[in-house]
């Protein structure tokens, strides 16, 4: 029994899961109805459902970020790409309010499916640009993606003409706030992307190639792996993920704000990937870990709001908790704590 437990603790996802459970426990302890889920208005309703729904965009971005980080890269432009995709989708759907026979009907400038496809395609193109800069031009990933991080917000504002576009088209809202089978529709999108990616990683050689490129790019190239194509592809996928996240976010808030949509999501995504046990040095990665990491961040955010932490210090509180979580996940730190605890104990035995 004890042996099973210690083996379980050695699993790479053990600490992320423990962290998530701890955060949930803290929430539940201070907030009576936290774990309560009920059927209301034709769908499930409760704090946990809310956390899942709000975490959806971050989970998507984290999936893309996981692959990028696995190849030793980083993509800090995802927030800007979220804004571009949101702006494009909002513009193509349009904010027009048309009155027909005295009834306000909402029409789109372009058909909605076209708007969705265009937004995700442009986001993927943004990722492709990043990938080209990294793999072909040979720029350092953080610099290469910094370009789009800065320029992307400008592009988003060009699309929206510097305005915040408000969306009135009802069907679009389903993406970010609709429900299917009683669960938020956004979760189905995340699940679909996750399953597709998971299958691609485990049922094709993609996982092997990504890891091998991340651990030793030169050796992989010599072995005949098309390292550049892998890297470009991974950035493009990350861009597409950010694009879908942009759709969810703009649908959820019923508007597209070129300046603020997806602000700082790149940092949350990098944090989620790290919390999930994928090293920034590349190589081995865990998609499930990144999902858990995203949930940790969203649960933490929820806790900060629900515990009534004053807004002016909530970023500080978040930083402190993240710092503690990171320390807890470090094997070296745990070892040194163990040594501190065990030394006096040994002394007592001698006495």
């Amino acid at each position: 029994m004890l042996k099973h437990f210690s083996m379980l603790m050695k699993h790479r996802l053990a600490w992320p899961v423990i962290t998530l459970l701890l955060l949930l426990a803290v929430n539940a302890a201070f907030n009576d109805g936290f774990l309560h889920i009920e059927w209301r208005g034709g769908h499930l309703y409760g704090s946990l459902i809310d956390i899942l729904n709000r975490a959806a965009p971050l989970m998507l971005v984290s999936l893309g970020m996981t692959l990028v980080i696995a190849t030793r890269g980083i993509d800090i432009s995802v927030g800007a790409v979220v804004a571009i995709a949101a702006a494009l989708a909002a513009w193509m759907i349009g904010g027009a309010l048309v009155v027909v026979d005295g009834v306000a009907t909402h029409v789109t400038r372009f058909p909605m499916p076209l708007a969705l496809i265009a937004a995700v395609a442009v986001a993927a193109l943004c990722g492709l640009w990043n990938g080209m800069l990294v793999a072909r031009v040979g720029m350092q990933p953080i610099i290469a993606t910094l370009i789009l991080m800065v320029a992307g917000r400008g592009i988003a504002q060009l699309i929206t003409n510097g305005q915040i576009i408000t969306i009135y088209y009802g069907p679009y809202f389903f993406l970010g706030s609709g429900y299917l089978l009683g669960l938020p529709f956004s979760l189905f999108i995340v699940a679909a992307v996750f399953v597709a990616l998971y299958l691609a990683i485990t049922r094709s050689a993609l996982g092997l190639f990504i890891q091998s490129v991340g651990i030793n790019p030169e050796a992989s190239r010599v072995a005949g792996v098309k390292a550049r194509a892998i890297i470009v592809g991974v950035y493009a996928f990350c861009g597409a993920c950010a694009g879908v996240a942009g759709l969810l976010i703009s649908s959820n808030v019923k508007s597209a704000d070129g300046n603020n949509a997806g602000q700082l999501i790149e940092l949350d995504a990098i944090l989620a990937v790290t919390l999930g046990g994928t090293l920034l040095t590349g190589g081995k990665f865990s998609l499930v870990g990144s999902m858990i990491g995203a949930l940790i961040i969203q649960t933490l955010t929820y806790a900060i709001y629900s515990l009534g932490v004053p807004p002016e210090i909530n970023l500080v509180v978040k930083a402190v908790v993240v710092f503690a979580v990171m320390l807890m996940q470090s094997a070296e730190f745990r070892d040194s704590i163990r040594a501190l605890v065990q030394k006096p104990a040994r002394g007592e035995v001698r006495a």
Binding site: A205, L208, F209, S212, I215, N216, R221, V222, K226, G283
Partner: protein
């Protein structure tokens, strides 16, 4: 005479496994002592214990009669035990002088020497380097020096401390013959000054060129200590292997030269790359081993990289089966049935954190593409087949390849390429830094492959190996081909060809 350093009864255990058992070692002032043993014999572990990187589980260490117990390399260095590691661990982005004195710069000025005395740094660096016969601009960046010079700078750094014992872990593995001679001259000079030098190498001829005494380890145990003059090469190898060892020369003789009428599998005409390789004509036929001989820097690796699409030629043509091809990247080369085991195993070969299974499957999987995925079971079967046929020593194929010894990593690299069933296998220094037995096994394997109809391009710095396995030998010097010799030529003949050109030039 009493030893300056004496180790006795050293034990070291890793997770219950004995890495060292009752090992002893004596170093006398003014001698060069060779520490010999196969990969995994415990040489590195012993050095690590000696320099304080690892703590011994049991045993006694005495320096000039006093018991010592170094807890870190810095500790050992303060005691007077300096080490130069196989991989040069200096900073290429600092100047030569900065590297020599990093961490212990001479100070001057107020506040107990707040400022670094650069004039003094440069003057003393020049002095130290002059002591080992190196006169270079000490302000140039270390990275702009050759590996050999970097190695000497590492020694100068070690000497900067008042050291009594100098440990050199495979200092010659990346040096060419001239540079090795220069290094040996330095070692002899230091010996003359009364220093005790412990020298680790895989090259037998070097052991006899400089060593006074030899200690042999095998499987973590002490086998014996002999004066070098009393232990012949045969006896030394027997001591290392623990069994009688038949003379290897001729044991793995190449088969009869391939039929000269067989059309060339691969042919180059005037293939070259400005600044790296002068235009070269070369052809390789199926079923033959073409040896590529030459000193370090002669252009052997450059040629291999051109042939494999790692570099783009700017002159000449490359044809395979009589058809001209352009190889834009290694994937193209693999497509044409080429394979390359690169010289730098660590940086260009293994993917360290991945398992033996994944490393062996990598090239074949890359050739098949992303979608034709080999299942875990298929990969395991493939890896286990080669682990067995090449005798790769690992607990199981899921072990990270980085944990294997150098020789076994090399075999796994060969396995990776054999899995793709190549028509031409290019082996760039496949025997470097691995033990005698593994070298022999790899050369036997090369001959087996050629017999089975594969073409092999064999590159090695060890002339005896080239001469032993090749059907033909192409000789390179100063980045150009200077001639070709038939199989069975003597080492002397190859050297003559290289030297003749020297006189010409």
């Amino acid at each position: 005479m009493t030893p300056i350093l004496e180790l006795s009864g050293i034990d070291k255990q890793f997770a219950g496994v004995n890495a060292l058992r009752d090992v002893q070692l004596r170093l006398f002032p003014g001698e060069i002592h060779a520490l010999m043993g196969q990969n995994g014999a415990g040489k590195s572990t012993l050095i690590k214990v000696l320099t304080g990187v690892l703590e011994s589980s049991r045993g006694d260490m005495r320096l000039a009669g006093e018991a010592i117990r170094p807890r870190s390399p810095l500790d050992a260095q303060k005691l007077g035990i300096s080490t130069v590691y196989q991989e040069v661990n200096l900073c290429p982005n600092l100047s030569v002088a900065e590297n020599v004195f990093a961490g212990r710069y001479p100070r001057c000025g107020a506040l107990q020497g707040f400022r670094i005395d650069w004039a003094e740094v440069h003057r003393r660096a020049r002095e130290l380097l002059a002591r080992i016969g190196l006169e270079i601009d000490v302000t140039q960046l270390l990275g702009s020096c050759s590996v050999a010079v970097q190695q000497l700078v590492a020694i100068a750094r070690a000497l900067g401390v008042e050291s009594k014992v100098l440990i050199l872990d495979e200092p010659t593995s990346s040096l060419d013959d001239d540079e090795v001679q220069k290094l040996f001259a330095v070692l002899r000079r230091l010996r003359g000054e009364g220093m005790a030098i412990l020298f680790i190498t895989h090259f037998l001829n070097q052991v006899y060129a400089v060593s006074d005494r030899i200690t042999v380890l095998r499987n973590g145990q002490w086998v014996g200590e002999w004066p070098a003059a009393e232990l012949g090469p045969q006896a030394l190898i027997s001591a290392m292997l623990g069994r009688e060892f038949a003379a290897t020369a001729g044991a793995a003789a190449p088969m009869a030269a391939a039929d000269a009428h067989t059309p060339a599998l691969l042919q180059t005409t005037g293939l070259g790359q400005t600044g790296h390789l002068h235009p070269i004509d070369l052809n390789v036929r199926a079923g033959e081993v073409l040896g590529l001989a030459g000193l370090l820097g002669a252009g052997r690796t450059e040629l291999a990289r051109l042939l494999f699409g790692l570099e783009a030629p700017d002159s000449g043509t490359l044809s395979i089966d009589g058809k001209n091809v352009r190889l834009a990247n290694p994937a193209d080369a693999v497509e044409h049935g080429l394979a390359l085991c690169p010289e730098e195993r660590k940086t260009d070969g293994i993917v360290g954190e991945l398992s033996v299974r994944e490393n062996i499957a990598l090239a074949l999987q890359a050739r098949q593409g992303v979608r034709r995925f080999m299942s875990h079971a298929e990969q395991t079967a493939l890896a286990e087949k080669f682990v067995k046929s090449l005798g790769i020593k690992c607990t199981n194929v899921e072990m990270p390849i980085g944990l294997l010894s150098g020789g076994n990593q090399q075999k796994a690299m060969i396995a990776r390429w054999l899995a793709t069933d190549p028509r031409l296998l290019i082996l760039d220094e496949p025997t470097r830094g691995i033990d005698v037995a593994a070298k022999q096994e790899i050369m036997d394997e090369i001959l087996r492959l050629a017999q089975a109809g594969m073409a092999v391009l064999f590159i090695s710095s060890e002339m005896s190996e080239v001469v032993r396995v090749s059907n033909r030998i192409a000789v390179l010097r100063d980045r150009r081909k200077v001639g070709e010799l038939p199989g069975g030529s003597s080492e002397a003949a190859v050297y003559e060809l290289i030297a003749a050109e020297h006189e010409h030039a």
